[in-house]
């Protein structure tokens, strides 16, 4: 993942806040996922910094993200030519129409198949250096890499330019933009939040900025939109953009889901994958202010008071990537089950 940089003033403020938080609380910063881990299991929170998880679907998702970032970067120059804040009515319509032509021209020079393969190779190379890697059971680097490359090869035949074009349907203002959110007042020592907004785009109807986050799923099944973590992430980034002075309003947000059916349950491997896309929009992120401010306060208090909860996920420890490394896990192998297999009625 390319890391874009913060402006120097913001970077300095972040470094100062992070250093103070690290000295006082032992934690430099939080992200949306580390905050979730914190509330789920302290060991997961700690173990995440020690290991790299090589989970095929997560890895493939990162590859798709990487290609999207490269494509988005090549479209950003279009929006840099004008002050998008001044666009409205006819000027906005003209700008949007011009973007479509610009995108067609840029895409004619992009080889998405090659980008997918290059991303896969780069990310696989990153696995060979740095943190210890936890592979799926029975796999080492060699088999993992071979599986990934074979899957990506099929993805190159399945993901068309039209799919990428659909994901990049609106003018792109930035990709993988680092966002920082400071909780509390300037005099307080509080743990800052750091995240990366997949894309900031211009809404063609309102002319305002929207956050667009990409999610990938590889079973072909449409997943539930009830994931609170998605809403928390988008809310946090929206607040960060306002606090950073990027906008003076609360942006709207979209999640674009790409569902790639790998055909894992089929007897024969498919030669191409079925691809579907879904879009979910959140237009009133401010309605979550109280709810998610509580989440931030709660995470802060947990760390300040050194409260560590373990094995607190409703999914249990059985599916945790770190279970083999963990002394605090609670597995369900001690149940003695009697009777039939009826669902619990309550």
């Amino acid at each position: 993942m390319t890391t874009k940089v913060l402006n120097s003033k913001l970077a300095a403020a972040y470094a100062k806040a992070g250093t103070a938080a690290l000295k006082k609380f032992g934690v430099h910063h939080l992200s949306k996922s580390s905050a979730e881990n914190l509330l789920e299991c302290a060991n997961k929170f700690h173990l995440k910094s020690l290991y790299n998880i090589a989970k095929p679907q997560m890895f493939l998702g990162n590859i798709v993200h990487g290609v999207l970032e490269k494509a988005a970067d090549s479209l950003v120059p279009y929006s840099e030519k004008v002050n998008v804040k001044t666009l409205e009515g006819e000027s906005l319509k003209k700008f949007i129409a011009g973007y479509s032509d610009f995108k067609t021209e840029v895409f004619s020079k992009l080889n998405f198949s090659q980008l997918l393969i290059e991303q896969a190779q780069d990310q696989l190379a990153d696995l060979t250096c740095g943190r210890e890697v936890l592979y799926p059971e029975g796999m080492g680097y060699g088999t993992f890499a071979a599986n990934i490359l074979a899957t990506v090869e099929t993805m190159t035949k399945s993901l068309t330019k039209e799919h990428w074009s659909e994901l990049l349907d609106c003018p792109v203002l930035s990709s993988e933009m680092p966002v920082i959110y400071f909780t509390g007042s300037p005099n307080e020592v509080k743990i800052p939040y750091l995240g990366y907004a997949d894309m900031l785009m211009l809404d063609p109807e309102t002319g305002k900025v929207k956050i667009v986050d990409l999610k990938t799923a590889f079973s072909g099944q449409s997943q539930t939109w009830n994931n609170v973590g998605y809403k928390f992430q988008l809310w946090l980034y929206a607040q960060a953009l306002k606090q950073m002075g990027y906008v003076d309003y609360t942006v709207t947000a979209e999640i674009k889901k790409v569902l790639i059916d790998l055909g894992l349950k089929r007897k024969n491997k498919p030669t191409t994958y079925t691809i579907k896309t879904e879009v979910g929009r959140l237009t009133n992120l401010d309605s979550y202010n109280e709810r998610f401010q509580h989440t931030l306060d709660y995470a802060q208090r947990i760390i300040e008071n050194g409260i560590q909860v373990f094995a607190n996920s409703s999914y249990g420890c059985g599916s945790c990537e770190y279970k083999d490394m963990c002394d605090e896990k609670i597995l369900n192998d001690d149940w003695v089950i009697e009777g039939g297999a009826n669902e619990e009625s309550d």
């Binding site: 690290l22 609380f25 032992g26 934690v27 302290a42 700690h46 910094s49 020690l50 060979t128 250096c129 740095g130 943190r131 210890e132 890697v133 080492g140 680097y141 060699g142 088999t143 760390i303 050194g306 560590q308 002394d327």
Partner: protein, 247 residues
């Protein structure tokens, strides 16, 4: 095999103070360095240069992982490496793969107190045989270098925290380059621990607070040597290739 019992007792008998809190969070390499530039993180901030200098080590580790996964004993490395020495580790890796014994590459050992990370340290390989856990350090120094036994003791104590069951811990250093010296190993048996290893580590860290440091010390063993500005500006000799990985 050298015993670290005497060194261990020197530190275990010290009183525990809060001095260790001044150093954390830290790594074994930074905590034990005698170089002020490394301690102040002046050099470690050059992460890109650090990563590039580590590319050679990554090649060696990739070759070892390939041996482990393939079950072959032959290893694909350049002629600057002493393949006979490395082959011994390859045999261990093959054996572990066959029997299904613990084998880890680039494992990071650590201990934390609450949310505070106290100390981390990375070794190259961890293997288990019978009732012993072996920590392997593959040294790419071009000649025999003296090993700081205190760092070995720290790694062993960190491993005792990670492996809290009944195994003993042994630290093995293999100089992997041609004509770079002989293998060495150290041990501290579990039964010799007189206190929680976390307590001893805090005592060691506290004692390090007072260690005299100047810039340009221990350069031959320093992972930052290839790009260190202190080395080229203040100390007039060639930088050695990075050795003794620690991240």
């Amino acid at each position: 095999m050298k015993s670290l019992t005497k060194l261990y007792k020197e530190y275990a008998q010290l009183p525990l103070t809060d001095d260790w809190k001044e150093l954390i969070p830290t790594s074994v390499f930074v905590a034990l360095t005698k170089c002020a530039a490394v301690r102040k993180n002046e050099i470690a901030a050059m992460s890109k240069a650090f990563r590039e200098s580590f590319a050679k080590k990554d090649e060696l580790m990739a070759a070892l992982r390939e041996v482990f996964e393939s079950g072959e004993t032959s290893i694909d490395l350049g002629e600057e490496y002493d393949l006979e020495k490395i082959k011994k580790l390859c045999v261990v890796l093959n054996n572990n793969k066959l029997i299904g014994l613990l084998t880890r590459f680039n494992p990071k050992l650590s201990f934390h107190e609450g949310f505070f990370s106290v100390l981390t340290g990375t070794v190259d390989v961890i293997t288990r045989d019978n009732d012993v856990v072996n920590l392997w350090r593959l040294s790419r120094a071009k000649s025999q270098t003296e090993t700081d036994e205190l760092s070995v003791l720290v790694y062993i104590l960190l491993a005792y925290i990670s492996y809290s069951d009944e195994w003993d811990i042994v630290f093995k250093k293999i100089p992997v380059m041609v004509n770079s010296g002989k293998e060495e190993s150290w041990h501290l048996e579990r039964k010799e621990l007189t206190e929680d290893p976390r307590v001893t580590l805090k005592k060691i860290l506290g004692s390090l607070l007072k260690t005299q440091r100047d810039k340009g010390k221990d350069c031959a063993c320093c992972i930052h040597a290839p790009y260190c500005k202190v080395l080229t500006e203040d100390v007039q000799h060639e930088a050695e290739e990075a050795v003794d990985a620690d991240m």
